[in-house]
Structures are given as structure tokens and as C-alpha cells.
Amino acid sequence: MRLIEVQELRRTFTVGRFRAKREVVAVRDVSFAIEAGEMVGYIGPNGAGKSTTIKMLTGILVPSGGRLEVAGLDPSRQRTDLARRIGVVFGQRTTLWWDLPLRDSFAVLQRIYRTSPRRHEQNLAEYVELLDLGDLLDTPVRQLSLGQRMRGDIVAALLHDPEILFLDEPTIGLDVISKGRLREFLRTLNATRGTTLMLTTHDLQDIEALCDRVIVIDHGTAVFDGALADLHREGGSTRTLVVDLVDEAPPISVPGATTRKVDGPRQWLSFPTDASAAPIVAAVAAAYDVADLSIQEPDIEDVIRELYSR
């Protein structure tokens, strides 16, 4: 079943005033469709049009052109109907009431969405447990840390059992542990409830952990739509092994990796993203005196740049 259908979607903004007025195309004729139960990453560099797309899909922004259907509804015209069927989380801002304790915000949401009290209680108990929010229910939102607030926002977005969950940069600013927990939670949600997930992110690890499919947007245009592995292949993306040797040495030479850069005892080796790091690490360790090793994941911006430059 198709839950989201986008055809030639377009959004322009007018910037500047008076004579300096000009039109900027934020989203340019983007088309895609998403099936129920999919987990899709919507990625691209800053200002590529990710958030603008999400805002159109959720009914916040009126499209300038094209066709758009979410859960069988026209988002901007049937905004309130759509609101009952989707959940939305913005990483950088909260939709909760700043001055109120989480508990009160949740209680009001139950009334606004007219969720049955029993369902509400069940959901609340389950999500609060899963996201470990029990001790924070009486804290005003403004006093929560970013990670705590994010979890609160996610609970708020899920209490009315939405079919689709939109997440705009959900892991931005979170520490590694919080990121991991959040990803785990989202995976569980998709597996147990079949909730469709669409997320924008800067963090390739979000995508790797969650999404079987990625749509890449750049300068308002969708430049790639497919599996993550294909993106890496097409983008020729590489991971980097950073080797700190005990002593300075000539460029390391091991099979399966090429040395990109040498700076004193530190060397950077790149290898394909889909290859395992283990044999390379083993080969390096066997041939050299290694002080420290670390692996850098490919940067999404690099992949996209690569995708474009060819």
C-alpha cells in the first residue's frame, strides 16, 4: 500500500525585498513514493530542501507546484485530518509546551487528538518505559536536556498511534549513547507496529542503522533513490582507517587499502565502504608497530559530492 506519493513536487521562496527580490527554488520537481512499513532516509547537504519537503508532506507548507498525497490526503488542504495519522519530530525544536511539565503536555495531546484514554495510557506507559522518561514526567520541558526533550517529543508524536513518523534530524546534537538508544527504539517501533518512517539526517550512521532505502536530494533535486549499498557504490564512498604508528614510516602498503595521507606518525588509509575493516587492520598490525587505530565513516556530504562530480 502506498502511503506517500509525491509527483513533481516544487516549492519556491521569495527572498529579499523590493528591487533585490528574487525567487529561490528550494524543492525542484521531486518525485517518489513510499510504501507502508518502509524506513526511508531522506538525505542531502544543508539547504538541499530536506526540511522543506518534510514540511510540505506534513501540511506545514503549501507546495508551489506538483502533486502530493500522504495517507490518501492532500496535506495542506486536509491538514487536521492528516495530523491524526502522522507523527512529526523536529530535532532542533520542540512541539511540546515549553513551560509545562511533560505529563501535562501529554495529557493535553490526548484531548486534542481525542485518543481513547485507555489507548493513551497504554501507549504512554509503553513509550515512557522504552525511552526511559519515567523520572522526567513532572519536569517542565524547558528544563530538559536536548536528549531528554527529544525523547519527550518522540513520545508526544507517537501517542495517537500515527501510521507514519516523520523525523527531521532526530539525532542532531545527541551524544553517542543517546543516538544508539534512539535508533534502537525506532527499529523496534517499525518492527512491532509497522510504523512507516521517513527521516532526514546528516548522520550516515542513522541511515545505516535504520534505512533500507535512501533518497538523496541536492539543490532541490532528487539525485538518487535506492538502497544504501548502491549509494555507496555509485558515490564511490570510502571509509578511512586512521593509523597512529609508534614511529614515522613511509606510506603503509597493505592489500585492499590505499594510503591517502601521511602526517608524521599518523597515516590515513581509505578502503571501500562495503569491505570489512578486519583484514586491513590485521595486515597493518602485523607489519607495523601500531599505537592506535580508528575508523572514520564516510561523510554524507562527501558521498554526495562524489556522486555529483561525475
Binding site: 506534513t58 507548507l61 495530523a83 512529526v88 525544536r93 512541539t95 509546551w97 495529557a107
Partner: protein, 273 residues
């Protein structure tokens, strides 16, 4: 169609109540602040009248009206803006909601946007101003020759006045959809309108009164119906039927407001990308 309309109104009223109740609860968490603000609201609006009363130490009539008549005009407009401010004064802060991205959050909830904007930070303390207006009206009514028709027209005036002020709050608040930090423009019409209608419109040039009749219908908040209630001839000689026309003005203004609000929402550009 009619069913659908009543459905929307029901949902809106319920939603408004739910959100408002939450804010009242939050405000009462600081009872000292709440009462201090309620009391100062009461006195603040009362002091405007004290100002007029001080003026009357040097004069016996202003624009051909005496103090008791001005008290009636004053009470009527204070009631109108009091109710409007209680129910929808928050529209003033639309620009702030846009800047903080909170409007996006509201657009994601299954309630009409206007309801959420108006109910945001609902402040029960504003009832103080309405109380003050009613006290003023009560006192002033001692000097009115009451008839059933006048009582009826007074009620119509108070309801229409509230609706007119509420519409003006919204319609000028919409400016912020286009220019986020221009919230003060609305003050010229809301609080400015309130200040103007505290006085008999005879103190203003006729062109101003014409504008307040046909352009920004603030004269219907209290002036025209009060001419009937106070048994006064219209010093400017405007048509007599205007005295009963407050509801028409209110409905017309609501229609204009609805169009402007819709245009504003569709123009909304959300911040960031």
C-alpha cells in the same frame, strides 16, 4: 455542510477549552504572580478612566458629553476589548510563534490553527479587565433611561463589540505572516481603537469618524449603539440606522478576517529550510 460547520465549531471550542485549561493550571502554579498581574490589569484599565476623571476636574463636558456618558462609552469599549483580548489577544504574538518555530508545531495538531494561536498562553487574569468594564457599565447605567429596547441593544453592542475587537486583533495580527516583527502595527488599531472609543467620537474630525464607520468599523463597538441608548442625536449626522448596525459590521469584519487569515496561512513560509 451545516453539520460539518457545527462539527468544526464544536471541535474548536473543545480544543480551545482544553488548551486554555492547561495554561490556567500552569499560571496558578505561581499564585502570587497571578494575583499581582490580575490586580494590576484591573487597575491599569481603570486608571485610563481615572485619567478622564482628572480631565473632568478642569472641564464639565468633553466633545459635548458629560462624565457619566463617557463612563458608559468607556465601559462598553473596555468590555469589548477585554473579551477580545482574553479570547484572542495572543494573536499579537504570532510573529514570535513563527520565529520560534512553534507555529509549525501547531500546524501539526488536529485543531484549527487560529484556535491554537488564540488559546496559547491563555491568561485568565484578563478577566480582571472585563470585570472592571462591567463595574464601569453598571455605575454608568444609573444615569441611563432604560427601556427594554435599550437593554437589548446594549447586549447586542457588547457582543458585537467583542467580535469586532477580536477580528481586529486577528486581521492586523496577520500582518506578521508577511513581516514577522511588525506586531506593533496591530496595536494602533486594537489599543488605539480602544483609546479612541473611550471618548465621544465628536472630539475627532469627521473624516476620522467616517473611517471608523466604513473602513475599520470601530465606531460600532460603542459609539453608534450608545447614541441610541443615551438618547443623543448624531452630532455628525450619519444615517440613523447605523445605531442598530453593529452586528452587520461585526459579521462583515469577520468575513474579511477569515479571508485575510486564510491568505496568511497559505502564505506562511516557515523559518529555516
Amino acid at each position: 455542510m451545516a453539520d460539518q460547520a457545527t462539527g468544526v465549531i464544536g471541535v474548536s471550542a473543545r480544543g480551545y477549552r482544553d488548551i486554555a485549561r492547561m495554561w490556567v493550571k500552569a499560571a496558578l502554579a505561581y499564585p502570587a504572580s497571578f494575583w499581582m498581574m490580575a490586580a494590576s490589569q484591573f487597575f491599569l484599565t481603570l486608571l485610563d478612566f481615572v485619567g478622564i476623571w482628572i480631565m473632568f476636574h478642569t472641564i464639565d463636558s468633553l466633545g459635548g458629553f458629560d462624565l457619566t456618558e463617557i463612563a458608559f462609552l468607556y465601559g462598553a469599549t473596555a468590555f469589548g476589548i477585554g473579551v477580545a483580548d482574553l479570547l484572542g489577544g495572543q494573536v499579537e504574538r504570532l510573529g514570535e510563534l513563527i520565529r520560534m518555530g512553534r507555529l509549525d508545531g501547531m500546524l501539526l495538531k488536529p485543531l484549527p490553527l487560529l484556535v491554537q494561536v488564540c488559546a496559547d498562553q491563555f491568561a485568565l487574569r484578563r478577566v480582571a479587565r472585563i470585570t472592571q468594564a462591567l463595574v464601569m457599565l453598571g455605575v454608568a447605567s444609573y444615569w441611563v433611561d432604560w427601556t427594554p429596547a435599550k437593554v437589548g441593544l446594549t447586549l447586542v453592542m457588547l457582543v458585537s463589540g467583542s467580535v469586532i475587537f477580536l477580528s481586529i486583533f486577528v486581521v492586523f495580527g496577520c500582518v506578521q505572516f508577511w513581516t514577522v516583527d511588525a506586531s506593533e502595527v496591530a496595536n494602533a488599531f486594537t489599543y488605539g481603537g480602544n483609546t479612541m472609543t473611550q471618548y465621544p467620537l465628536t472630539v475627532f474630525p469627521k473624516q476620522v469618524v467616517t473611517a471608523l464607520t466604513y473602513l475599520v468599523p470601530l465606531a460600532f463597538v460603542n459609539w453608534y449603539p450608545s447614541l441610541y441608548i443615551l438618547d443623543r442625536a448624531d452630532p455628525y449626522g450619519f444615517p440613523e440606522w447605523l445605531r442598530y448596525a453593529s452586528p452587520i459590521a461585526a459579521v462583515a469584519l469577520v468575513a474579511v478576517t477569515a479571508v485575510v487569515w486564510r491568505a496568511g496561512v497559505r502564505h506562511y513560509e516557515s523559518t529555516g529550510s
